[in-house]
Amino acid sequence: MNPLRAAFREYYALRSRSIFVPRIDLREIMMVTFDGTVIRHVSVKNLESLRAMLAREAPRHAYYSVGLYERPAAKSMAEKGLKGAEVLFDIDADHLGVDECDYGLAWRCKSCGESGDGAPPDACPKCGSRDLERLDWLSEGCLEAAKREAIRLLEILESDLGVSGDELMVYYTGHRGYHVRILSERFLGLGKEERRELASHVSGLSFDPEEVFYVKGSVLTTPRVDEGGWRGRIAREMLQLLEGSSGGKTALPSSVAERRGELVRALGEGVPLINPTRALVRDLRRMAEEIVQARRVRIDEMVTPDTSRLTRIPNSLHGKTGLRAMALSPDELRDFQPLGDAVGLSDDQIRVFTTAPVPRFRVKGESFGPYEPGVGVDLPMFAAALILLKGRGVIP
């Protein structure tokens, strides 16, 4: 057996107790094996069967549905009979546009095997082929950026939607992101449009400053600090800015600074502001927009409306890293370090032969690399797995 698959199997044999899927009998399960076979439309009766199945198959990837079905094993969505679906939010560092996520980027030519650092060039400098593979890597900065989004998402879900604690399931995907599911019964029946609305809410996409700083005739109504949602967040942050800038040196636009007293009363107590200047309205709306931009949660908005999605089984192993798709409590999330805490594979030594440059990296507190392509190194399984699964090495 492929030593990597053997390592996955060992993990599932030893750690199967940590595999937990609520309402497992209503879920569709999907697996991708190490030889690339996709096993779909599987259903299991209970957790024990799921755990046994993972230990037996030792799949490269294992997923479960957000949907709860009458007949999870049926082949088509219509036959499955959707009873309800958890609301899913997907945070993927790839969509955050942070430079740290490009750390360790490399490429390899699929024709001749030549490789190099950085983004793939237009053509292979050795053989001229245009068939080049882009190889990404994991970095702490990139994972931190994703975690910050997840923490902000949880704050919004709690304050606005009133979901927290055991109504939520949060987990690291095992790669570059986080998944958050709302388990609560009252959200299970939401349709596509309603889920889309939730996605646009947390991502601030449907925010409209003209609604929040609303002008009718000569009266400007502002949001108030005791309001909820984006209105309250904006009012509180603006009030802080106004009060913080009372010392004189200020970054406030002059239109805003001139009416500070009235604005403080408007934001604090809801006293409408009379005869606002056009510049004031424009500047307030722009400030509101900036606050939303800074605090919005950058989720993948396409994922949330889709009730037929599957995500990784909590505490299963991710087939691109060998890390655990770790279920976390909101408290655990704050201090969570994926490259330490989510290591699931053993430290048994294994020899790896690199086929592309490997950047310097830290896993479980230990530093590895950098390695040139074409060298043999002895590594603990958890570090070797990263190189192998990221396509930068082979077992000789």
Binding site: E194, L205, S206, E211, G228, G232, V292, E301, M302
Partner: protein, 321 residues
């Protein structure tokens, strides 16, 4: 308590007050079909169904005694379930919920709160305003266009959304509409009610045949527009932004105003005059459909198809062929 005011059953026959009345009177399908005392209910039910098909609003039966009002409503429901046509169901749901709104918009807030409870929402009063549970809010507001209904612009706290009295009435209209769209088993009907059904079906077919098929070729359409065309064809309720996007896109790719108006003909709230005015306005203004980022923010985008505007998707598609 005003909840037990019998006049409420007359205005809102779909509520538990209506159900209790049916039970206490032991009303059966045979009574609805044959009881001479319910003749005016049969007449009004027929009027309501035909109004629904014709796009009107039937208000001749606003002040019926409770039992007659409940009977009228039951006949409307039974006959439309018996016909079992999804397009008719949407027209009836649209008509009945509009009629509901006409009555509800003038009710005091505590009556609206009670109605909300009847429609499955959890509502808590806060002076002249009310907090509605977020799931019900989302179910209702999903069908409403305009930035003011978007959650991001509202006071939303711990799973509840604050709404004004008039807003609540509008949301309840939507909740009733979606409630009426839930599938019901097909009943068997006695001949007098079947006769109403046959007449309604005939009118329905007439309306359907006036809707010309004006489908664009499928391939050229970006997925978001494709979905909007399907929604329009199925006669589903569309938000203002969805209608604007669809009309602006189609006009830009060369459709005539007539052809675009025809596409909206299945809409349950279709009004030729209004639709023509709106579409002509968009045509005259030469508006472009919104770009993909805006469409994403409006929740209209359905997948990332790699373009920045739905128009460039069309162009690429046309060039390829």
């Amino acid at each position: 308590m005003e909840e037990h005011d019998p006049a409420l059953a007359s205005r809102y026959p779909f509520t538990s007050l209506g159900e209790r009345l049916i039970e206490s009177e032991g009303l059966t399908e045979k009574d609805l079909a044959y009881d001479p005392l319910l003749e005016q209910s049969r007449r009004h039910a027929r009027g309501r169904l035909l109004s629904a098909v014709g796009g009107g609003l039937y208000l001749d039966d606003l002040y019926l005694p409770p039992l007659d009002a409940v009977a009228t409503y039951l006949i409307v429901r039974l006959v439309s379930s018996w016909i079992g046509d999804p397009f008719l169901n949407r027209l009836v749901a649209e008509h009945e919920s509009k009629r509901f709104h006409r009555l509800a918009r003038d009710e005091p807030i505590h009556v609206l709160a009670w109605l909300g409870g009847e429609l499955g929402a959890a509502i808590r009063l806060d002076g002249e305003r009310a907090w509605i549970d977020i799931s019900s809010y989302l179910r209702a507001a999903a069908g409403l266009g305009g930035p003011r209904w978007r959650l991001a612009n509202r006071d939303v706290r711990s799973g509840q959304v604050l709404v004004g009295r008039r807003e609540l009435a509008r949301l309840l209209q939507e909740l009733l509409r979606t409630h009426l769209l839930e599938p019901t088993p097909r009943p068997s009907l006695s001949p007098p009610l079947r006769a109403i059904g046959t007449e309604v079906t005939r009118r329905l077919e007439e309306r359907k045949s006036s809707i010309q098929s004006s489908r664009p070729s499928r391939q050229a359409l970006p997925p978001c527009i494709e979905r909007l065309v399907e929604k329009a064809e199925r006669g589903e309720n569309m938000s203002h932004q969805e209608r604007f996007t669809l009309a602006a896109y189609l006009l830009r790719v060369g459709w005539s105003v007539d052809r675009v108006v025809d596409l909206f003909r299945s809409a349950p709230d279709f009004k030729e005059r209004v639709a023509r005015y709106q579409v002509s306005h968009i045509a005259k203004g030469g508006y472009n459909p919104p770009n993909c980022e805006t469409l994403r923010s409006w929740g209209i985008c359905v997948e990332d198809c790699g373009v920045k505007s739905p128009l460039s998707y069309g162009r690429r598609g046309r060039r390829r062929r």
